[in-house]
């Protein structure tokens, strides 16, 4: 095998950084669960619930995107 250790550890670090996206997946699932339960109980508030669900999903997804940014920084040798 060849290659230097720094590049290898960069790839390993990029992979480890993406473990944080698991939390985002669970968070999005929970918020969609809450929104769907609310929509099922009360279909009149569909528009309101949809807007707030999209907002909540964007917050959770932002955490996964932070992990992705760290992974990209390592993969493309910026850091």
């Amino acid at each position: 095998m060849e290659g230097n250790i720094l590049d290898a550890m960069r790839y390993v670090g990029a992979g480890l950084a993406m473990i944080g996206a698991a939390g985002a997946g669970i968070g999005i699932g929970l918020s969609v669960q809450g929104a769907l339960t609310g929509m099922a109980r009360n279909p009149d508030t569909y528009g309101n619930l949809l807007t707030n669900m999209i907002l909540g999903i964007a917050f959770s997804e932002a955490i996964a995107i932070y992990c992705l940014v760290i992974a990209f920084l390592m993969l493309f040798k910026v850091v």
Binding site: T51, I54, L55, E61, Y66, L68, V69, F76
Partner: protein
Amino acid sequence: MEQEKRRPWRRWVVLVLMIAGFILGGIFVPVSPEIVVAPEKLSYQPLFTLPVIGSFYLVNTLPTLAVTLVLLMVVAYFTNRSLKKSAQTDLIPRGIGNLMEAVLEIFYNLTEGSAGKYTRMIFPWFATILIYVLFANLLKLLPGFESIGLIKEAHGEGGHAVTALAGNWALLTAEKGEFVLYPFFRGISVDLNFTVSLAIIAVVMIQVVGFRAQGIGYLSKFFNTRRMFKVPFFGAMDFLVGLLELISEISKILSFAFRLFGNMFAGIVLVAIVAGLLGRISILPAMVMMFELFVGVIQAFVFGMLTMVFMAQATQGHGGEDHGDGPAEARSEVHEI
């Protein structure tokens, strides 16, 4: 009741385009991309140099910024003209004035639900950030962006060989070589300068709206000495929580900037890699681009909405938590769907 025979023709157009994409993918083979975080410089000499800050180069994203601003100004001019014309005749908006009014009314009702009496102060920021980021996110999906540019020698590893097309143009092929592509147009929301500057503007304006609404009492959000002398233990805790709010304002800048940048950057990397790997099956990068469309709209909405929500929170002090629900909420239920 008689019905004309419906001829579904769109599916044949899609099929023909898929087959054409497959054939063209054999001629112009998609190459694996080179992905850089910072936008590339298009010229060797800087445009101008300021004494302390440094030199400013003509960067990849500046032509896209010019196109975005020109497009926004054209849309604004035509909307203004259409609304002025309808204001003179019968007050019924038509055409692009109608479209813009319908879209902005949705967001105005959203703002009214959260802000109450400060809607007129807050809504322009929400709508401006939304429309600007929406145009920025959607413009980078047009063909020609990030694929047409200068071919330069690659410093370091990577790089592709070129075959010459007509005139001065050349095409990157899939073999290893020494040339990389510096695109002429790169999406502006992929540039950290755009996102960080917009985030700083948004967070500074949140503080300004807070000061305008509450006067100097807005500082009691950060330096909370309300209970310090009555109940010393909880008062000290409130004071520390207030200091933590100050740090949270700084982290809002980072959060805004990296949410938009990360989503858009992940988008172009995903499209480029899927196109590089499976480019001949042209439906796959096309579906990724459709997802990018959705994500672009959502991120623009979320940026604006978060600015609006933080501004609305900044206008409320301690105990002013009950804001205008009644009539605004009833109206927003009629207009939402």
